[in-house]
């Protein structure tokens, strides 16, 4: 009994023998359905009606060649991966095709040995990517809640989680990710060290280790050791908001005044973290007690034309973080 046609592969080649050979390997070794096109033009026509899951194309063809077909597919059907069949001597063009968006390539002389494994690998990767991209088109926002103790080793793990999520869903680039990471890290460390452990930065003056010794002690001593840091993060395509609350007595933020333009401040032990937060976030606010910081960042150029980039966020989602 043959396997159900779970996937459709569009095979494109102007050489009828090669076309049948590649199609035969696929149908012979998998349960995939195969449809055929003689050139790039016909392939683009079949994309509409056959809706293939993957395109396997020859590189050198009349009219639209494999390279142009890959580019066309990338623009019009970004979710459908393309795999190239290359003849001897076309490795350089294959590299160019990979740069233009092809998912993989298989030398024609190795089709029998490598084609099916390559197709399976590309389809598996494309499934995950397609699911993610589809989720992104209807995603409106995500609300996170975390509670951590005073172990600063947790900070990079948590920050990295939020960074990765923002990169995946909001397309944050390396710079945005760096800025987010720095601001979150500084805010979390402030909450633990200055908030819950009530450590004063002055203890660090002149390179003294008193600050770090006291931190180590207080991590084990009540009431400090029982205090927690609460984190709420709301991510959406155009705005992200992070609320970090500690359980300390709060601080008077007006006392922290770090201005790097003042030479006297350059070597000062305090205020540098808060300065970075203010620099990397669009809005920073504190509650009256001074134990809760709310940081907001707005993306200057919302990604693509995904619906969430323009649509207003739901009232519930906005309220959840306020």
């Amino acid at each position: 009994m043959s396997a159900p046609h779970s996937k459709t592969i569009l095979v494109v080649d102007d050489n009828p023998l090669d076309l049948q050979f590649a199609g035969g390997i696929i149908t012979g070794q998998t349960g995939y359905r195969v449809v055929y096109a003689r050139d790039g033009v016909q392939a683009m026509e079949l994309m509409q009606c056959e809706k293939p899951d993957l395109v396997l194309t020859d590189l050198q063809m009349p009219e639209i060649d494999g390279l142009a077909l890959v580019e066309g597919l990338r623009q019009r059907y970004p979710f459908v991966p393309a795999v190239l069949m290359t003849a001897f001597g076309s490795e350089e063009i294959a590299v160019e095709a990979l740069q233009k968006g092809a998912a993989s390539y298989v030398p024609k002389k190795e089709l029998r040995r490598r084609l099916v494994d390559t197709l399976r690998g590309v389809l598996a990767a494309a499934d995950g990517h397609q699911r993610h991209e589809k989720v992104k088109t209807c995603w409106q926002g995500t609300h996170f809640k975390f509670c951590i103790d005073n172990d600063d080793a947790v900070i990079p793990v948590l920050v990295s989680h939020v960074q990765q999520y923002a990169a995946a869903m909001c397309d944050d680039d390396e710079t945005e990710s760096f800025r987010l990471g720095v601001a979150l890290h500084e805010a979390l460390r402030n909450a633990i060290e200055h908030g819950n452990l009530e450590l004063n930065s002055r203890l660090r003056a002149d390179g003294s280790d008193e600050y770090y010794e006291m931190a180590q002690r207080r991590r084990r001593e009540p009431p400090f050791c029982h205090r927690r840091v609460w984190i709420e993060a709301y991510e959406s395509g155009d705005v992200s908001r992070y609320v970090i609350r500690d359980e300390g007595p709060g601080f008077d933020r007006t006392l922290v005044n770090y201005d790097p333009c003042d030479p006297a401040n350059i070597a000062k032990p305090s205020g540098r973290g808060l300065f970075l937060i203010h620099t990397f976030m669009d809005e920073v606010a504190f509650n009256d007690t001074g134990n809760e910081i709310t940081m907001t960042r707005r993306r200057k150029s919302p990604r693509g034309d995904a619906p969430h980039a323009r649509a207003p966020r739901s009232w519930q989602a906005q309220q959840a973080i306020q």
Partner: protein, 120 residues
């Protein structure tokens, strides 16, 4: 953060940083430069600190660089940072660290700075 001691050339000690430049997770009295070099003598050396393999820095990392720089000044040594990634360079610049730290874009420039610092 980890430090890795490289071969010394022309009397300059070369150390590479690995990972985020931060004090997070350090026990009190820990000095990574002394640990890496093997003695306090590091602060009287001419050090080229390669930041190429560090993608991040935070305020405690900046603080550590300032403290280390102060110790070099006190012990007649020199520390030149070099090859930092653009975002780290920007952050250091934003905090006006170029006014107190020796910062070079690459190792060659760092060597020149080291030479000129040693002559003054």
């Amino acid at each position: 953060m980890e430090l890795s001691l490289q071969t010394s050339i022309d009397g300059a000690v070369r150390i590479d940083t690995l990972g985020k430049i931060t004090r997070d997770g350090w026990p009190p009295h820990y000095d990574p430069l002394v640990e890496c070099y093997g003695s306090n003598e590091i602060y009287s050396q001419r050090l080229l600190l390669n930041l190429e393999n560090s993608g991040h820095i935070d305020s405690t990392g900046v603080e550590w660089l300032l403290e280390a720089n102060k110790k070099f000044n006190q012990n007649s040594g020199v520390m030149v940072l070099h090859s930092a990634k653009p975002m780290i360079t920007e952050l250091l610049k934003m905090m006006r660290m170029h006014l107190v730290l020796h910062i070079a874009s690459d190792e060659m420039e760092a060597r020149h700075k080291l030479e000129s610092s040693s002559q003054t």
